[in-house]
Amino acid sequence: MRTTPYLMSLPALALFAGVVVVPLAMTVLLSFHDWGQYKGIEPVFILKNWHEVLSDSYFHEMFGRTFRIAFCVTLLAALLGAPEAYILNRMKSPWRGLFLLVILGPLLISVVARTLGWALLFGGSSGLVNKALINLGLASSPLPFMFTETGVIVALTHVLMPYMVLAVWASLQRLDPQIENAAIALGAGPFTVLRRIVLPQVMPGILSGAVIVFALAASAFATPAIIGGRRLKVASTLAYDEFLNTLNWPLGAAVAVLLLVALVAIVWGTNRLVERRYAQVFA
């Protein structure tokens, strides 16, 4: 029976269509509707929302901030996560498992809880770390953390780091265990081995980790909502506000769809680049 495989995947397809495709299509459609303070949503086809999102400097700032934060988070995660994965990979058997758990453990805890932890440590003058710093005389006023880009970047990096470690770890596992010895025997010092032999081979892992972290950072909601609040909005919190506070659903939909399109373009482009760059080198 030719149709059997299709029939068998029908429930999954129906679910996918029901919870992803249809709402997405409706959101796209919604972004072309009109909205007014007193008339509500009008199901017409206009470009008003898109024009506003694309021309108003307020939205430029918002999207600029979103991608700036995502970029910094990705960079930090790569700079910290790649060495972390390398060290982890070199650990001996009982420690390796233990520290892998330490690194991946936070994934089991809700993002909200982890972010609130940062808020408790640095939240204004009542934050634990801030209190300690002031009492020790190391700082005269609380460190600016809440409602700052730095705060959002630090908290997001912490939240998303495991994804980078996992991606780099996976590519380190594929490394020939003798390859470092081969380079050493040819006269390479430890730093040269890392830079010339190990790093180029885990680069695809770092890049795929970067794609994941960037996408998650740019679309993150809970962390910017808690640390950035209403004062420091990013695209996702902006869309949320348009939907639930201003009740301007069409404008919120335009923001959400623009974020989605931009992310898909960036992720797809990076993937193409990585694949083309490494196609002949790695299987």
Partner: protein
């Protein structure tokens, strides 16, 4: 004084003695094989020479100097790994040139030497390829070229042919021997394949449980095995009335040890027999000369020369 000397070399992992008091002298230009089953300590020995494993006792001297005092990166040894360990992100030429680059050889001279060495291993036309675009045999040659181009004092080969199929392996054995003769580099080969060790080496070190059972030229080790382990490991052997007799030395004769053919297996260039005799089961190998041979169930008489 010998070129490379291992003196009472030992390595223990916890209570397990991987290498147990190995003493070996290798002359300049010699090809020596460390032969033994897995876990006999041959690879550990190689890694101690290379510097990747620290010995727990004993000494290694190269040209009269203490090699253990030299860092692995400064030993100047050429190593071919079982997995080849080629750098996948570098071209063939970059792989081979890496060692020269580390030595600070100028780019122009590097190119010349890389070209020469690749010609030597028959890969002159493949400089711009990446390792994964090459066959297993070709990758093996790149690994050999990469080890030879730095003009190493010693060439260490760690089961270099074990990832190749049988036919390619035989061809590479002949080629490897020719290349080694051409460049004259002192070579240590680690292998579990007795045919490979015998085909390539000037001398064989047969190892078992971390010890050298016998150190001798291949022919001598085969003809006069020092221990029962060596006799068994270097090809098939029969123990008849306490004496060790190679299967190919036994002939079917008019008189001699009487027996019944239990199994007869045809293997192309030879016949493999198992004969029930009063002294137990005896293995006999006879050349296939095209003549009629005894069949299963036949009564035969076995005879062999006193020399064996």
């Amino acid at each position: 004084m010998a070129f490379l000397e291992l003196e009472n070399l030992s390595k223990a992992f916890g209570t397990y003695k991987a290498v147990d008091g190995l003493t070996l002298s290798v002359e300049k230009g010699e090809f020596v094989s460390l032969l033994g089953p897995s876990g006999c300590g041959k690879t550990t020995t190689l890694q101690m020479i290379a510097g990747f494993v620290e010995p727990s006792g004993g000494a290694i001297r190269l040209g009269g100097k203490d090699l253990l005092a030299v860092k692995p990166a400064k030993r100047g040894l050429g190593i071919v790994f079982q997995s080849y360990a080629l750098f996948p992100h570098m071209t063939v030429a970059e792989n081979v040139g890496f060692g020269l680059e580390m030595q600070g050889v100028a780019a122009a001279e590097r190119m010349t030497r890389v070209g020469e060495t690749l010609e030597l291993v028959g890969l002159g036309a493949f400089t711009a390829r990446f390792p994964r675009q090459l066959s297993g045999g070709q990758q093996q040659r790149v690994a050999l070229a990469r080890a030879l181009v730095i003009r190493p004092q010693i060439l260490l080969l760690d089961e270099p042919l074990s990832n190749l199929d049988a036919k390619l392996r035989e061809g590479m054995q002949i080629e490897l021997r020719q290349i080694q003769r051409t460049v004259g580099t002192t070579t240590i080969l680690v292998t579990h394949d007795q045919a490979e060790a015998m085909a390539l080496s000037d001398r064989i070190v047969v190892m078992n449980q971390g010890r050298a059972e016998q150190i001798a030229p291949p022919h001598e080790a085969y003809e006069k095995p020092a221990t029962a382990f060596v006799a068994n490991f270097l090809g098939k052997t029969n123990l008849v009335n306490g004496a060790s007799v190679r299967p190919e030395r036994i002939a079917f004769a008019a008189s001699g040890l009487a027996g019944t053919v239990r199994t007869r297996i045809f293997q192309g260039n030879h016949w493999l027999y198992q004969v029930d005799t009063a002294s137990g089961l005896v293995t006999v190998i006879r050349q296939n000369s095209g003549d009629a041979m005894p069949a299963e169930g036949d009564t035969v008489h076995l005879a062999w020369g006193a020399a064996s």
